[in-house]
Symmetry: C2
Subunit: 269 residues, 2 copies
Amino acid sequence: METLTLTLIPRIPSLSHLLLSRPLRRRFPSRLCLSSSSAMRAQSTVAGFGDPSFASDYKAQPIKGEGIEEALIGFITGKRKATEVAHSVWRSIVQKGDTVVDATCGNGYDTLALLKMVADESGQGCVYGMDIQDSAIESTSSMLENSVNFHERKLVKLFSICHSKMEDIVPKDVPIRLVAFNLGYLPGGDKTIITESRTTEMALHAASKILRSHGLISIMVYVGHPGGREEFETVQSFASILPAETWVTCKFEMINRPAAPVLVLLYKK
Amino acid sequence: METLTLTLIPRIPSLSHLLLSRPLRRRFPSRLCLSSSSAMRAQSTVAGFGDPSFASDYKAQPIKGEGIEEALIGFITGKRKATEVAHSVWRSIVQKGDTVVDATCGNGYDTLALLKMVADESGQGCVYGMDIQDSAIESTSSMLENSVNFHERKLVKLFSICHSKMEDIVPKDVPIRLVAFNLGYLPGGDKTIITESRTTEMALHAASKILRSHGLISIMVYVGHPGGREEFETVQSFASILPAETWVTCKFEMINRPAAPVLVLLYKK
């Protein structure tokens, strides 16, 4: 496996969080951060998984590049996941040459999908990917090495950093078309170790600031595990107070599968 | 305006409710039924409108035949209504020659849209339309006369009847591909006169029984008026108890516009 390589860019305002995140992370053996007061400083980007029943397939195989009709009708008829709806929506919003953010790299499937959406021949597209887990960044980097060519790989900047710190790595004068979140906990891991709503809320605030007009924040929220419903309420509360004059916020939610992930979309007019 | 004409079909099991509905309706001057114990027998199909802020445009012009991508991205970006998403989903589910039900004819736009989806050259498609309001049925009939040819018009069966009685007019051996509800109250009317959740729940039960496998119940729920939220909770409760083995139930909902209508979809596997 490739050694983790961080692509540094000249206009990064501060790398202090990036540098600090390493010793903090080593205090926690899990890929996720403890939801306790002692872990507050190292919270809590996750690896892009949710509860096992919905995440297993997603982990096993990347999402195909379907159109919105196939994804949405598939979602309505129980044949496609909300993640597939999300990807199809991204493809309609994101344009070649855009700069986007994957706030929770995880296994790298979202990062790869986003790269394919922005990469153009002139080399202007860019994906900022982050995850507080070393293993997630390594996995993402490895996947990219195996999936894309050298020129495309150069368009991805990966950072071991909590998503709440995204403003520290994304240059201030670059308009961001999309920020993607995939919340949840790692299937097979310790279920008492959960993500922290507070950090997710901070990350949403940061995302709303860096997002350009006609840009989208996409949040896949997993609610089937302890703490997941609380995190969803945090996301929903944040979405509810965004002013309707400048934001359109909505959610796509299963009703008779209460543990199914909810897709929340925040569009900046 | 054309005089109301009911198209009777030979296999109707009972017309007692249809016949009874006329004197009962005359007791209420509004197009909607009273939400009181005295009005329990005559509740409460509505005319397909919701709160004024969302219904005015819809009332003013019929919905264009857009694709799902245009409708969904428009919804996410604040440029299209949930009703437009509903119509685009219907077009993907409904096939030529199908039999469908418009449970709340209202101004007839849904009825017309459904007719265009099912009408085929062999004359097999069929739309059962109903509304407890005489004026709604008259309006729908008039619109159809002005919009479609004689052969298409014959495919629509209109009834002045509460949607909770749909089993009395839809033949038992005909598989129904889609049942469409458009709940709410009449803009400009008496806001103390609201639809009754109890009758809507009865109608949903009836719809779930007559629906074929691979069929869809589509419910546009308006929540901005007094009683609207309660009706939404009734719809959601009904959707939540449908077994996940045989039903997929979901909702598309605005978050930062609490008065915006919610699209609830119930798909029978």
